[in-house]
Point group: C2
Chain length 417, copies 2
């Protein structure tokens, strides 16, 4: 048992937001406010930038009811950043400043809520503090809809995005079949290097409303094979729904979104309108099949912020990951990320256990969709993916509505002296 370390804590949020990053943030804040060891709870404005600029919100001054609404408030309530710290061996200016701000506020706990880059930031700060002999416990609280963090069974945020994508795919499936004329839909999901979100469209297929074809960036995309697939399905059914990851690329590594930009339309100022991937593929499909009715649909930012259709399982697990980070840090743990380990109870029900991972292992490693979850043809997913993902999307969000619309947390954000 470590000696109890008394002092303030900082929680910061970094990287692209999700529907539940505030749920894990709330897990940290609530647990820290209730902890005897932690003297003050500060929220960093826009992640590490808030530390560098000494803009720290005093979370103790917030209304507890508003804080609780963070569970179902999308995006990063404290503000996010994409600032990347240099190696301290190259340039330690930022680190000196962080140490100065930590000392000023007697910060002994630092929690950072984000994806790979955020774990890298945690790791670098921790190393520097150790070298400087400043006692501070540093924990990563994961987040990424991309589901690509190393070690953890899944990432907070993925399941809610997956649930939005699967639900919307089901609804679009119904819509796309309404006429007895032909219709091809191309659904574009986020995911530059990992196809987890695109694979989530297959969950809709469990209920008879899934896409016909799914292409992930884990496999090289072959345009000719793709067009053959679409033509075969369209000819047989007059309907075809295709799901694609934004990051699909050919065998030479060229992104498919870059294809056909030669023929992109031009706007009023003469700039080329670089359409999205879905629009691009539709152009190619029409080139093959003639003027068939097509729709390209981008799930765009909605897939990462649609808190109204979040997975309550994801919300609760995210809260628990934040809570665990504080409890473990107070107990003496440092340099870890709180991730998830899956098990099944004796009735075969999914159980999610909190598990600690070394920050150094997590930082800058990507987890892709494994081969056994992708079908042989590379145009769909296997049952292994469904078995993996389905337990994660259970439960409707216990969101508060006011006058028919979501009631999101309103924070006062009082800056600490």
């Amino acid at each position: 048992m470590a000696t109890q370390l008394k002092g303030a804590c900082i929680i910061g949020q970094s990287g692209g937001p999700s529907s539940v990053i505030n749920a894990s943030c709330y897990g940290v804040i609530r647990t820290a406010l209730d902890s005897g060891a932690i003297t003050n709870v500060f929220g960093a404005a826009h992640g590490i930038n808030g530390v560098l600029d000494d803009v720290l919100y005093d979370m103790g001054k917030e209304d507890p009811k508003e804080l609780e609404l963070l569970l179902h408030t999308p995006s990063s309530a404290l503000g996010s950043c994409r600032y990347k710290l240099k190696d301290s061996s190259e340039d330690d200016t930022d680190y000196k400043r962080i140490l100065e701000v930590f000392k000023k506020h007697d910060v002994r706990y630092f929690f950072y809520n984000g994806g790979n880059d955020s774990m890298d930031t945690c790791n670098k700060i921790s190393k520097y503090m150790q070298k400087a002999g400043y006692e501070c416990r540093i924990m990563g609280v994961p987040k990424t809809i991309d589901n690509d963090l190393y070690g953890t069974d899944h990432c907070p945020g993925f399941a809610s995005a997956a649930k939005y994508i699967a639900t919307t795919t089901m609804e679009l499936y119904k819509d796309a079949r309404v006429y007895d004329t032909g219709m091809i839909c191309v659904l574009e999901c986020m995911g530059r290097h990992a196809g987890w979100l695109t694979a989530a469209t297959a969950l809709a297929g469990e209920f008879g409303c899934g896409p016909d074809l799914i292409y992930l960036p884990e496999r090289d995309f072959d345009m000719e094979a793709f067009l053959n697939d679409v033509e075969r399905i369209y000819t047989a059914n007059k309907k075809c729904i295709v799901a694609v990851s934004e990051g699909i690329h050919d065998k030479d590594g060229k992104f498919i979104v870059e294809y056909g930009q030669e023929n992109a339309p031009v706007d009023a100022f003469g700039h080329k309108q670089l359409g999205g991937l879905a629009a691009n593929l539709i152009g190619v499909i029409k080139g093959r099949l003639g003027n068939v009715k097509c729709r390209g649909i981008e799930f765009s930012l909605m897939q990462r912020c649609a808190a109204h259709i979040a997975s309550e399982t994801d919300v609760q697990e995210s809260f628990l990951s934040g809570k665990t980070a504080v409890e473990q840090a107070v107990a003496g743990v440092t340099d870890k990320m709180v991730g998830y380990e899956r098990s099944y109870d004796k009735d075969g029900n999914y159980v999610c256990n909190m598990k600690l991972f070394d920050l150094a292992d997590v930082a800058n490693t990507e987890k892709k969709v494994p081969a056994e979850m992708i079908n042989k043809e590379g145009n769909g997913v296997t049952k292994a993916f469904i078995d993996y993902a389905l337990p994660l999307i259970q439960g409707q969000p216990k969101m508060t509505f006011e006058q028919g619309l979501p009631r999101f947390a309103k924070l006062k954000k009082i800056v600490a002296e």
Copy 2:
């Protein structure tokens, strides 16, 4: 009191679907199945095409529980069409065929569920049946997310689309503000001639998460004024959210989406298939402001099929409009559309009453956003719009979920002999 007319009924669905067109369809089916006057309840496959092709589903053979799930199943469960009947004076082939099928199945009630064009279809069929001396009661059951039907206070389907749009706008607002860097979002809503759906983004503003600028097709769009608006807001706040109707046009009537895409395809009714407006405007904004971070977001088909965030008020009213159509027809009424009239009770609470409108008045008339709901500058809406729309989006959908995803109705669709 009219003499009771015994016979079968047909319910058909037409035009673009919505989240609640099946709720009004269920109102018709359930009430007709329970009516002593109606001997058989047939669902026409793909609207009037199902009548012409004599493909009629026997609704009496469906599982009542599955039928009830229609309340929260998006899109048109019976299938839709965009078939336009010719004037019978020009060519009465279709009308003769419809009469033949009606006679074959002893159809004495015809309910048609759709928008302006569908009311036109109802009206034409009714006129022909009268001329032919075939007794048949014909009622329109309205539907259109566009909210542009004449007479009725609002249209079934509008509120659910509005609720999706307002909720999503709130979530996107949160997302678009996550970084402390600049961000411009252009949200594109459906609406060729009427701006009701785009105006619905303003509901998010009631909760502090609305767009800065809103442009409806009711006003001529001036590109220079638009760019000045965006520049002013962006310069002041580093953030700017703009909502636009797909149908915005300049003072010469030229659609803004056509600035750069002259050759959009045309549907069976001669409507241009518009799309890509958001992307187009972003190109123009970058032309003015340089390479600022911009996102164009199309609510695309989601806005008309996102049943998971439908307005329960809309669901219940839609059901009631279908129910009323049957009750009124059985009581002797014909040639009417069941619309809504708004009143307020003594406590000022919104009340929706069913009201009958002449088909001939409704057919092919469009109701636009009135001048008092648009601000002087033409870049926002007034409180009059909020007061109008807010009562309509109340209530969360009482949807059934199964394994974390919506459980939609599964119909057997047994074709009548």
